[in-house]
Amino acid sequence: MYTEDELLPISALQHLAFCERQWALIHLEGVWEENRLTAEGRLLHDRSHEPETEVRGDLRIARGLRVRSLRLGLVGKADVVEFQRIPDAKEAIQLEGVPGLWKPLIVEYKRGHPKIGHEDEVQLCAQALCLEEMLGVSIPSGSFFYGEPRRRYEVLLDEALRGETERLTARLHQLNQAGETPPAQYTEKCRSCSLVDVCLPKAAGKRGGVRSYLAQAIARAEEETA
């Protein structure tokens, strides 16, 4: 079990799944280059993060719910959790001060298209693991709402995804403890990364590059003089 001081943000999992160095730049180095993509994402999120609950008959829509897991050492916010009133006690819980039994469904809002990688699903799964721990309920699936196309997708929170999420969480704590920024490696992904100008993957990948760069500059001066 982790203490509250040791909790790390769920959003870090997504950065870590994309690139360990990107995670380190954001969470260890404290750099955050905002580009168009992240700015748009933030605007979309600002709306869904205003904490309030909307009631539509048998549906309660809670926004910006704060969640955490002491077992995994994670803390974060769920964009939207929908609580559906159901008659069955299985998969359902009681909500304080509200009559009836309710089944939670996490809906994560994303700008743009569904991603090819697992980053979003891991983040959704981590939120579900937190909610399961806090509410004492099992959450078999969750949903994404993507900006393009504007529709929902259901994601099954199966053993494979849960296992991946837990492994990544363990890695997150390990790297955070070490406090070191992993070396840069230039890959295809770098082109879509908002931190490429801070990371300098091409320059920082050149090991031994500065020593010869300096030596050359001095040698050049000598040649020109000779």
Partner: protein
């Protein structure tokens, strides 16, 4: 690379800057003279009696827009800083290396190497532009001497010896600096460097440009999370931005010195724009200061190939790029600090 943002230089006395939503409003005598969206700005520099409203300062702190207040003559007074930002791990590493004699001497050596190399480029360019001039040989001889100093700086050495060679190089460089002035010789000449206060027109120009430059370097260092006060070549002194002065060394020759020389040689500034006070200290009039600021702004827009990154970079972004490279070296990504060599 990141975009080069504008710096707003406020030189009108009595100007008042305030916030209107996401816009910076400049008022003079209650009348709005200028509106600038904050996202287009990288910094604001106020000269003399120009002031800012607290909400504007808050907005700028939040958006990483550095605000500095300088005296009318360009002496640094204060700057506005938001919550401490950036990276504690990086700053600790910066301090550790400053406390470690060997790594501090190594960084100082690199900073002197690049300064000497870039001074040498200034001399060689001038000699190439006017080979027929009688002083050209003297410029070439000095360049040769600087090349010898570079050889002596090729290997690691104690910081005292690094600083000694820096002093030697600076003396040599400034001893021929007067040869680089080709017109208006009766108004613009260079005998020796004087700073507090500048005692002639050239020194007044140099000091003013160094002030503009140190503001930019300081903001760049803060922008990447480094502490501008803790340097390597420049020893700690309360109130002195040691690291900003360190990083500035590589830009002085090609950004400030060259700019001063071309302002004089192209007669963009004139002798009558300067005034000698009773103590011998020289000050510039408003018009001359404006001329210098505009020329500096223009120069910052020009692009140059960065010799280490191999990318085109706006000159105004060089302080940011170098601050970033230093941070990446301190965090262990690079095997040294790659300074900016001007070819």
């Amino acid at each position: 690379m990141k975009h080069l943002l504008n710096t707003l230089y406020v030189m009108t006395q009595g100007a008042y800057l305030s916030r209107e939503g996401e816009t910076v409003l400049v008022k003079v005598d209650g009348e709005t003279k200028l509106r600038v969206p904050v996202h287009t700005l990288g910094g604001i520099v106020c000269f003399g009696v120009a002031s800012c409203s607290p909400p504007l300062m808050g907005l700028c702190a939040e958006r990483n827009v550095a605000i500095s207040f300088l005296s009318e003559r360009g002496r640094f007074l204060a700057r506005v800083e938001g919550p401490v930002s950036g990276n504690v791990l990086l700053r600790r590493e910066q301090y550790r290396q400053a406390d470690n004699k060997e790594s501090a001497a190594e960084l100082a050596r690199v900073m002197v190497v690049v300064k000497v190399a870039n001074c040498r480029t200034v001399l060689l360019r001038a000699a190439r532009e006017r080979p027929e001039q009688s002083e050209a040989k003297e410029l070439l001889d000095t360049a040769t001497h600087l090349a010898q100093l570079l050889q002596e700086l090729a290997d690691s050495q104690p910081i005292d010896s690094v600083r000694g060679r820096e002093g030697d190089a600076a003396r040599r460089y400034f001893s021929v600096f007067d040869h680089l002035i080709t017109v208006q010789k009766e108004d613009f000449f260079f005998r020796e460097r004087s700073r507090r206060p500048p005692l002639d027109n050239m020194n007044a120009l140099l000091s003013f440009l160094y002030t503009l430059l140190v503001h930019d370097v300081r903001s760049a260092l803060e922008g990447v999370g480094l502490d501008p006060a803790v340097g390597y070549l420049h020893a700690d002194r309360p109130g002195r931005p040691g690291l900003a002065l360190d990083i500035m060394e590589e830009f002085r020759p090609f950004l400030a010195d060259r700019l001063v020389l071309s302002l004089v040689n192209r007669q963009q500034v004139k002798g009558k724009g300067f005034r000698k006070t009773e103590t011998g200290a020289v000050t510039m009039d408003d018009e001359t200061r404006k001329e210098v600021v505009v020329a500096y702004q223009k120069r910052k827009q020009e692009e140059i190939q960065h010799p280490f990154l191999g990318e085109k970079v706006a000159i105004g972004l060089l302080p940011h790029v170098q601050a970033l490279l230093l941070a990446r070296y301190l965090r262990g990504d690079l095997d040294g600090y790659p300074p900016f060599f001007w070819k």
